[in-house]
């Protein structure tokens, strides 16, 4: 089974995209063209893409991302539409009609009411729904921010609080629950609030750095130059400084906002996406994307700038599709307008966190990371592994890639120091995932019952159904990223041979996980809501936090959710997918392999992770095969190979050629108090008297007397035979009546008489 699995994993890496890109969008996109549409809107609270016609609103779910998703619709009255957002419980629909009016629909009753401002001095900049306990909706105006709650009695909004200040513009993302209000001449003074389920946190005022071009020309910061991103549960704000051509990341803490280095940019137009906690900086003019993993202190990009790839477009090469596809006559291609695949076209709008909306063609693309390509692009194996280990979205793929990478470096006999660092990365990651419990979550779902292959298709549809069911329940925020993962794995499944049992297991997992999901997720959700401290503890393990400042957390639920499956590799998996398979392929001198195993054990020991004895057994076999018994002995005596029954038995086995090694195995049995095996082996080796003494001392009664008698008989010493007989007669009641007793008494008599004769 291992062999099979490994071959399929290899095909994963080899079958990866040959094109030079690390990020791709998968064809087909989600088409949201509705006749008579006035425009597309994105509701990031509910992750919906909305299209409004004169009397209807169509909405498509973007999570899970499916190109065939069918829209749902609501009727609205006619009028201008500046923005649309569903309430988080999907009961209300809010439409901004003008700078002074927002209209609300109760979707159940169809009743409407409006919030209007008459004042000419202030206008509405925007609004959003929130899950903050104090209020339901926030309306941002030029004069400040107003927090409202819905009052079901009066069926109207009730003003809870007003934060007065001058606001030029604002940015808000639902995933961070963070709003930044810009003010000042250059719009570079910011006031921030986090309106999370835990309450409202006011951030300290701060200013963003702006380089000056000329003495008196002060640049003004625009809303599109500021991006709020959420990576690894931390909230950052990225500010584009067009003059300096730099991107400044600011990290948000409760009591401070800290600028953390800056990233160079190479384009006047910059777009930001976050896919699976990886920051993607789209250099729109240059048509390339640069990837950053803002986890460590390093601000170096993961890899060189490469273009975004359109994958799965039904043409021979995607590059030619860029220029248009007039001469293709395949029905599919005709189906699409030729200009819809212009990468980084002017019509592209980048949505938080990982969507691209082609406004002109009414298409929605989802951005994916090409983990294979990324892992293949760097020779710095430890950092690649580190990167892969942090991937949550395609955890299984990342895990397989990690295994392939490790196996390859060992087979290529890279320097031990380098392999050591690689192993350290994996072991540390596993240890962390054990501590946070995410590994066991993964295991739990992996341990789910695994029905036959044929059930695969059925269960796939089950997934979809359950998703819809959840939709109806209105838990749409919740199942967000988890179903994203599943969807990912389902999409991926055609890449794998269907006969591969591993894959089936994985697929079933996701189903199982999901069907449980509705209930379990809700539980998670409430747990997450109520115990923020716990969540902070969780997230702080993966964070570099200043001693005094407690970091702002992004959406708690997502945080929990995303850890459900981790890419970490347990020592068992290391054994079966790396060491066992590598050992088969590595012939000759074991020194290198032993060195790797030692480093692995050391690493596990440092992290206090228990190692399965099979790796010890493997090491023993290897050393014994090359007759390095001295080292083997040292390993056993120093307990580098920890004692266990498996190890002891292997020592006995390997000790057939080397008595010292065999004795080590025997001693180990004794030290493990495996009395039965110890006595049995002593008898087998002809030490039957010692065995008897030992048996009596440790009350071993499970070894048959005939074995002792036989051994004594073989030694041809009548005295000993008599002693053994006597022993059993004395200590085993009723032994005198057994056949053994009579047989050996007769034999003893014969022996004695022959001696006498």
């Amino acid at each position: 089974m291992f062999g099979k699995a490994s071959s399929s994993q290899l095909s994963v890496s080899l079958g990866g995209s040959g094109a030079l890109s690390h990020v791709y969008i998968q064809h087909p996109p989600l088409r949201c063209s509705i006749p008579g549409s006035k425009g597309l809107f994105y509701d990031d609270g509910n992750k919906l893409i909305l299209s409004a016609t004169s009397d209807q609103v169509f909405s498509w779910k973007t999570v899970p991302f499916a190109s065939h998703a069918a829209p749902t619709s609501d009727s609205i009255s006619e009028g201008p539409v500046l923005s649309i957002r569903y309430s988080l419980d999907s009961k209300f629909l809010a439409i901004q009609r003008s700078n002074h009016e927002i209209q609300f629909w109760d979707r159940e009753t169809g009743e409407t009411f409006s919030q209007t401002y008459r004042s000419e001095t202030e206008s509405i900049l925007g609004f959003f729904w929130t899950d903050c306990p104090k209020c339901d909706i926030v309306i941002v105006k030029t004069s400040g921010m107003e927090l409202f709650s819905y009052d079901p009695e009066s069926k109207s909004l009730h003003l809870v609080e007003t934060k007065r200040m001058n606001v030029s513009w604002y940015v808000y993302t639902h995933e961070s629950r963070l709003i930044l209000l810009a003010s000042g001449m250059q719009c570079k003074s910011f006031t921030g609030f986090q309106l999370s389920s835990a309450g409202i946190i006011r951030l300290p005022k701060f200013e963003m750095a702006m380089a000056k071009s000329e003495a008196n020309n002060k640049p003004v910061l625009a809303a599109e130059d500021v991006h709020i991103i959420t990576v690894y549960g931390r909230i950052y704000c990225l500010q584009v400084d067009r003059i300096a051509m730099l991107l400044h990341p600011y990290r948000f803490y409760r009591d401070a906002v800290v600028q953390q280095g800056s990233l160079p940019i190479y384009s006047n137009k910059i777009a930001i996406s976050v896919v699976d906690n990886v920051l993607l900086v789209h250099q729109v003019d240059a048509k390339v994307v640069i990837l950053y993993d803002i986890f460590a202190d390093s601000r170096a990009p993961i890899s060189a700038p490469l273009p975004l790839l359109l994958r799965g477009f039904p043409k021979a090469s995607s590059s030619s599709s860029r220029t248009g596809s007039k001469d293709t006559d395949s029905s599919e291609a005709n189906d699409m307008s030729d200009h819809e695949t212009i990468i980084y076209g002017d019509n592209w709008i980048f949505l938080v966190p990982d969507l691209i909306c082609d406004v002109a063609n009414r298409l929605l693309w989802k951005i994916h990371l090409d983990l294979e390509a990324i892992s293949a692009s760097s020779s710095e194996v430890p950092s690649v592994l580190d990167f892969l280990q942090r991937r949550k979205l395609e955890a299984n793929k990342a895990k397989q890639l990690c295994l392939v990478v490790v196996r390859t470096v060992i087979l290529e006999r890279r320097p031990v120091s380098m392999v050591t660092r690689a192993i350290d990365v994996l072991v540390t990651s596993y240890s962390n995932s054990i501590k946070t419990g995410s590994y066991f979550k993964g295991i739990k779902s992996e341990k789910a019952p695994t029905p036959s292959v044929s059930s695969m298709n059925i269960s796939t549809s089950v997934v979809d159904e359950s998703i819809r069911r959840e939709d109806a329940l209105g838990k749409s925020i919740k199942h967000g990223s988890s179903s994203g993962v599943e969807n990912e794995s389902l999409n991926r499944s055609p890449d794998f041979p269907v006969s591969d049992p591993e894959e089936n297991v994985r697929l079933e997992n996701s189903n199982d996980h999901h069907s449980l999901g509705t209930k379990a997720d809700t539980e998670n959700f409430t747990a997450g809501e109520t115990s923020q401290s716990e969540v902070q503890k969780l997230s702080s393990q993966s964070q570099l936090v200043g001693p005094s400042s407690s970091p702002l957390n992004a959406s708690i639920s997502e945080n929990l959710e995303s850890q459900a499956i981790s890419a970490s590799i347990s020592p068992d998996e290391m054994y079966s997918f790396v060491f066992a398979s590598v050992e088969e392929e590595m012939a000759g001198d074991p020194a290198y392999f032993v060195a790797i195993v030692v480093e692995f054990l050391r690493s596990c020991n440092v992290e206090r992770i228990k190692v399965h004895p099979n790796i010890y057994v493997l090491t023993i076999q290897l050393l014994a095969r090359h007759e390095r018994y001295a080292e083997l002995g040292l390993f056993i005596i120093n307990k580098i190979l920890e004692p266990s029954k498996e190890v002891a038995l292997q020592l006995l086995e390997s000790g057939r050629q080397n008595i010292q090694t065999r004795k080590l195995g025997l001693d180990m049995l004794r030290q493990l108090s495996l009395h039965h095996d110890y006595v049995l082996l002593l008898v087998q080796d002809g030490y039957y008297l010692e065995a008897l003494r030992y048996a009596r001392k440790n009350k071993v009664t499970t070894v048959r007397p005939s074995l002792f008698l036989e051994a004594a008989f073989v030694s041809a010493d009548p005295q000993h035979l008599a002693a053994v007989l006597r022993f059993f007669s004395d200590f085993i009641p009723g032994f005198k009546n057994t056949a053994d007793h009579t047989t050996y008494c007769r034999i003893l008599n014969e022996m004695n008489s022959s001696i006498a004769a």
Partner: protein
């Protein structure tokens, strides 16, 4: 020869010779047999008579293959003799190589110091030969190279004399590595050393974490040599921590390291390189005086009688690896010596080389030392290109890649080390030998001496004050143990004869004078000897004590019933 008479007195009671049965078979050429004789100034007739007797006994006992001779212990299928006890002497035999024998003749005397265990003496012979082979290759190969013996004689002479003379003294209480030549008298391992086992290694007990660090270091060292196979030996103080060598090679190198390379062996001369370069240290003078005193004869025999092409050319270089105080620490952390140097005084000295028994390969010997940590690395000469240059590249690699790890390991080991008396077990004076692994552990020498002396330190636990009036009995326990060990040795060799490959259990408890228990236990290849003084008189106490010890320190190996 005026001095020689004095010398005979000096070396009274001790003769050591090496001879080759294949040589000098013809009348008048008997001298050819002698490869080494100590004392060298004995008249040839005397030397020949010793060798003649030995040869006769060897030939004679060979006739009786398989039949026990009166006092000849038969131990090997070769059925050669191990020892002959005469009224005044003991002849200890060791067949070093095919037809090459080493014989030690010791006087029996009433002196208590002259109570020795034959096996301990044989182990001396074995050790000197093993070391010789490690540095020079086998005696036979040297003979083959130079059939006249012109090569092997100076080598043997220098080597054995260095061995006998130069064992330097570690501490006043330390009688383990005693110098054989105290003053002008060769001091052989006596009953005082019966809680020692020559030819075994002493290991440092390390925890799993430290052991993993050590192994990690060892692997890094191995990888520094690239594709060349590399063997390593790691010592902490004078205890073995790790080895990748075969057991025999490990013992040899370990012995050498403890004698000459370990930090304490270097310590005595600290940073006195300049002083050394003058060529003479005190101990060398002492050794030299012995050599000088036997000058005329040895000159004649080991030098001038040389009929080789190098004939008469005394100065042709004989490597003397056992010379004292020849190693010093270089600036890069590697130990350097000029022993192997082409000429004394040339700054760039040749890298030492040794022969490995396991592979019969000549290896470069590199020794790195960091504080208490000594790393011995062996690289096959054949696989290092460019000789010295290639080696220096490897050394540089090691310093670059492994020095950080070495620091870490040294720190870890010193943190865990219990000091000189780490392996002292209160109330016990013991020796634990694991014959399978060639490992032994014993009470620290400082503690053993408390058995032999009138109690110096009243606070000394376990062993209460000795009655001074019983002065004569003070050594009693060790003498008893020595005798007991003699018995066990006998039993063991009988066992090998009776039933090879089958270890027998053995338990002997003897109530000695001084209210002491002298105990020997052997089981499945492991041996335990102990002395319990001022102990309760019941046998139960003794066996309880063994049981307790076994459970605590030998993971129950001796508590089988």
């Amino acid at each position: 020869m005026g001095l020689s008479s004095a010398n005979t007195v000096v070396n009274e009671g001790f003769q050591l010779c090496v001879f080759d049965l294949r040589r000098g078979q013809q009348e008048g050429q008997e001298l050819d047999k002698i490869l080494f004789f100590h004392p060298a100034d004995l008249p040839f007739s005397t030397q020949l008579s010793v060798i003649g007797l030995s040869e006769g006994l060897i030939t004679f006992t060979r006739l009786f293959k398989g039949i026990a001779f009166v006092s000849c212990r038969i131990f090997s299928p070769e059925a050669a003799c191990e020892v002959i006890e005469a009224e005044k002497h003991s002849h200890v035999f060791h067949q070093a190589e095919q037809d090459i024998w080493m014989v030690m003749v010791v006087d029996k005397s009433k002196e208590s110091d002259a109570i020795w265990r034959i096996d301990a003496l044989r182990r001396v012979l074995k050790e000197v030969h093993s070391l010789f082979v490690m540095f020079h290759g086998s005696i036979r190969s040297l003979l083959d190279k130079e059939p006249s013996g012109g090569l092997v004689r100076p080598h043997l002479y220098n080597f054995i004399m260095d061995y006998l003379s130069a064992f330097h003294k570690r501490s006043p209480w330390d009688i383990c590595c005693c110098d054989f030549l105290v003053g002008k008298k060769i001091k052989l391992p006596s009953f005082r050393d019966c809680l020692k086992e020559r030819g075994t290694v002493q290991m440092l007990t390390v925890g799993r974490e430290a052991a993993l660090e050590v192994q990690s270091l060892v692997r890094v060292l191995e990888s520094c040599a690239g594709n060349t196979p590399c063997y390593s030996l790691v010592l902490f103080q004078d205890l073995l921590v790790s080895t990748t060598l075969s057991p025999d090679d490990t013992i040899n190198l370990f012995t050498y390291a403890v004698l000459r390379l370990a930090p304490h062996a270097l310590l005595s001369r600290a940073s006195s390189w300049s002083y050394l370069r003058k060529g003479n240290s005190a101990s060398q003078i002492a050794a030299a005086s012995v050599l000088a005193s036997s000058g005329p004869v040895s000159e004649q025999f080991y030098g001038s009688r040389d009929t080789s092409p190098h004939g008469g050319e005394h100065s042709h270089h004989v490597v003397r690896p056992l010379q004292l105080n020849k190693w010093y620490k270089g600036t890069d952390g590697f130990l350097v010596t000029d022993i192997w140097g082409p000429e004394v005084g040339i700054m760039v000295s040749a890298t030492p080389t040794v022969w490995l028994q396991q592979t019969d390969e000549k290896m470069y010997l590199c020794v790195y030392q960091h504080k208490s940590l000594t790393l011995i690395l062996l690289f096959p000469i054949s696989s290092i290109l460019n000789g010295e240059q290639g080696l220096s590249v490897v050394k540089q690699q090691i310093v670059e890649n492994a020095s950080l790890k070495m620091l870490k390991v040294e720190e870890k080991l010193s943190k865990g080390w219990g000091g000189e008396n780490a392996y002292h077990v209160g109330g016990y004076r013991y020796l634990l030998v694991d014959g399978d692994r060639n490992v032994s552990r014993a009470s620290p020498p400082g503690k053993v001496t408390t058995l032999t002396k009138v109690n110096i330190d009243p606070a000394e636990e376990g062993f209460a004050k000795r009655n001074k009036s019983k002065g004569t009995n003070q050594l009693e326990s060790l003498i008893s143990l020595s005798n007991l060990r003699e018995e066990v040795d006998l039993e063991k060799s009988r066992e090998i004869w009776d039933d090879p490959g089958h270890d027998k259990d053995l338990e002997i408890c003897i109530r000695a004078k001084n209210n002491a228990w002298v105990i020997a236990r052997t089981t499945r290849g492991k041996e335990l000897y102990m002395v319990l003084e001022k102990a309760n008189e019941t046998l139960l106490f003794a066996s309880d004590a063994v049981e307790k010890f076994s459970n605590r320190y030998c993971s129950g190996a001796f508590s089988l019933d």
